[in-house]
């Protein structure tokens, strides 16, 4: 039986800085998960992933990550993506510092 497609965002790391980045609906990369495009159609997600993977001079390690759509934007369904969004929990050294 086919598994139902669950909502996802496209994520990667920036080539130069290594920062966690997400693909927006404009096809650009953002550091903020709240600005990421949420993909709900499997065929569309596959095509967008191929386009994103082609941007090899900008990003590294492109993949689809599961998210739950909310009114504040996508929310990670797994704690690993939660840490990637925020930064390490032991220091205010990741993205949480840049936002403060």
């Amino acid at each position: 039986m086919l598994r139902e497609f669950t909502p996802k965002v496209i994520t990667a790391n920036a080539l130069l800085e290594g920062d966690v980045v997400y693909l927006t609906d404009a096809g650009t990369w953002t550091r903020h998960l709240s600005e990421a495009e949420i993909l709900t159609d499997e065929a569309d997600a596959e095509l967008r992933l191929l386009d994103a993977q082609a941007q090899a001079s900008t990003v590294v390690g492109v993949y689809l990550a599961d998210m739950t759509p909310t009114e504040h934007g996508p929310e990670p369904t797994h704690f690993r993506e939660g840490f990637r969004r925020t930064g390490p929990s032991n220091y205010n050294h990741g993205k949480q510092a840049e936002r403060a």
Binding site: T77, P88, K95
Partner: protein, 555 residues
């Protein structure tokens, strides 16, 4: 300590220039990530969860003050002001930018350091007893032979495409502080009938299939060591499995073929290889050895120390916990704890690194060591300097008196940084340390090694912790498995699993229940946790962990 010769300097400069060009070609699009990845890994550059990570080798954990200061400079200029000392006696920088890495490598080369072979399927940084050259129980300093192995293994043409990584550790003391039994090859320097030789263990390792190293050779004459190791690696290079990366380490090869079969193959290879060694290795070893001549330790009164020990309770606590007996009676080995209660284990700020460098220069004959337990050591300090040293350390947050106690926890970076991790390690260590500090129990508990890994790869050595903690992802939730009774020393032992794991918020109470069960059951304060576990086995601890009535009683 070893100083680079013209060859070393030229070799590192050439490698750094190559890597600089490779980085440029990656950035301008000439190299794909698939092409670039093995090149960056050869130079210690990983891509982790939030950023790149540069792993720098500290060969056999030995540094001088200039090197420590340069690490501080790198942390400040190109990172976020700190570095993380690891269980492999390396330092990791967690936030370098790709464009800056060639400059960082050049800065390392200025102080004779590099990041070569800190990753990939190569012979990795050789580790050694962190008290090498100072310990009272030492047969011989393990660092000259560790340096010989470093030189031999660096860019060794036969060993650039090994089935998997390969780790060598050396101890020169019968009290093994280098965890040699958990390495692909563990070397123990021994003395018999007035002659120095090597006991060789093979096939130890932690990770998903923990194994204690088996005896390959009981007493190898010094001149045979390098050809013998070359024979062992060569046998595994051909025999080791390349079909399954989980079965590729030499521990699996030894397990599948049996130690006797492996020994026979190594002996055969050794007979072939030995004649090709002209003796130049022994000439080189002799030259290296002169560079590890002990410092000219000064004699003098220890009156200052004796007076402070009697008159200052905080200094006494530090002295009782953080000092180790030195081979010179007027000196001590000082372990500086990078485990202040609540701090991430193994992290040091740039300011702390600079202070430790200054103190090493002023009081420690310019020598520092990094331990696999993620602390920093000043191996030679005259006792009369200890009170002033302690005051300086305490003012910088480096005076924590907890070496060997429950808050002196080994923890891998875990999911806060590592792309391989399945759960966090650092916050668990922080919580445990803070809790037992709050309970003011750690000195009463006494010797206790808690070791935490955030995934099955066991960088945090959890298998050999008295209490081992392994973080896993169970259906999208962090879950922690506990093992008890592991031991990292000469009679190394893998710990026993207690049973089902614990959620992150259940773990600290579970650790408390284990500790209270120990305090209840020990025969007296002199019986350590490990000894109590060895005497009683798992039953009382299992009851405290899982039996509701017993756990209430324990709390």
């Amino acid at each position: 300590m070893y100083r680079y010769n013209a060859f070393d300097t030229a070799f590192i400069a050439e490698r750094n220039a190559q890597f600089r060009a490779q980085v440029e070609r990656r950035i301008d699009g000439s190299l794909t990530e698939d092409e670039f990845k093995p090149l960056r890994l050869m130079n210690g550059l990983y891509l982790q969860l939030h950023a790149y990570m540069l792993r720098v080798a500290i060969p056999y954990g030995t540094l001088n003050s200039a090197q420590m200061r340069q690490l501080a400079m790198i942390a400040e200029r190109w990172d976020k002001g700190y570095g993380h000392f690891t269980t492999r006696q390396n330092i990791q920088f967690n936030w370098p930018k790709l464009r800056d890495v060639p400059d960082i490598l050049d800065a390392l080369a200025e102080v004779e350091m590099h990041a070569i072979q800190t990753s990939g399927n190569t012979i990795r940084n050789v580790t050694a007893d962190h008290f090498a050259g100072a310990a009272a129980d030492e047969v011989a300093d393990p660092r000259p032979v560790a340096e010989l192995i470093r030189q031999w293994s660096t860019d060794h043409p036969e060993f650039q495409f090994l089935p998997r990584k390969f780790k060598v550790a050396v101890t020169g003391s019968p009290n093994d502080r280098a965890v040699t039994a958990a390495h692909d090859i563990g070397l123990r320097i021994v003395e018999r009938d007035g002659k120095i030789g090597y006991q060789v263990l093979v096939g130890g390792g932690l990770g998903r299939t923990p194994m204690i190293g088996k005896l390959l050779a009981d007493f190898l004459p010094e001149a045979d060591l390098l050809p013998y190791i070359e024979a062992a690696v060569a046998v595994w290079n051909l025999l080791g499995r390349r079909d399954n990366k989980y079965k590729s380490r030499i521990k699996i090869t030894v397990h599948e073929h049996g130690i006797d079969d492996i020994r026979a193959r190594v002996e055969e290879a050794f007979a072939r290889i030995k004649p090709t060694f002209s003796g130049v290795d022994q000439t080189m070893l002799a030259a290296i050895r002169t560079q590890f001549a002990p410092p000219n330790l000064r004699d003098g009164s220890t009156h200052h120390y004796d007076a402070a020990y009697v008159g200052n309770a905080m200094f006494r606590a530090f002295a009782d916990t953080n000092l180790t007996v030195h081979k010179h009676p007027d000196h001590a080995i000082v372990t500086i704890s990078l485990k202040a209660h609540g701090a991430p284990p193994g992290d040091a700020t740039a300011d702390q690194m600079r202070l430790m460098a200054d103190l090493a220069e002023r009081y420690g004959y310019d020598e520092l060591r990094i331990s696999h337990e993620q602390n920093v050591i000043l191996p030679h300090v005259h006792k009369s300097d200890l009170p002033a040293l302690y005051t300086a350390l305490r003012e910088a947050g480096l005076g924590t008196a907890n070496i060997g106690l429950i808050s002196d926890i080994i923890a891998c970076p875990g999911m806060d940084y590592c792309a391989l991790a399945t759960a966090r390690s650092i916050p668990i260590a922080q919580e445990i340390a803070l809790r037992f500090d709050e309970l003011k129990l750690e000195h009463e508990i006494g010797e206790m090694k808690i070791k935490i890994s955030g995934c099955i790869n066991a960088c945090g050595h959890h298998h050999v912790g008295h209490i081992g903690i392994l973080g896993l992802d169970r259906a999208g939730v962090e879950s922690y498995q506990i093992t008890l009774g592991g031991d990292h020393r000469e009679d190394a032992r893998v710990g026993d699993r207690t049973g089902p794991g614990f959620a992150a918020d259940e773990l600290l109470p579970a650790i408390e229940r284990i500790v209270y069960a120990y305090l209840d059951q020990r025969s007296g304060p002199e019986e350590t946790f490990l000894a109590t576990y060895q005497r009683l086995g798992m039953a009382p601890f299992k009851a405290a962990l899982y039996d509701e009535a017993a756990s209430y009683a324990a709390e």
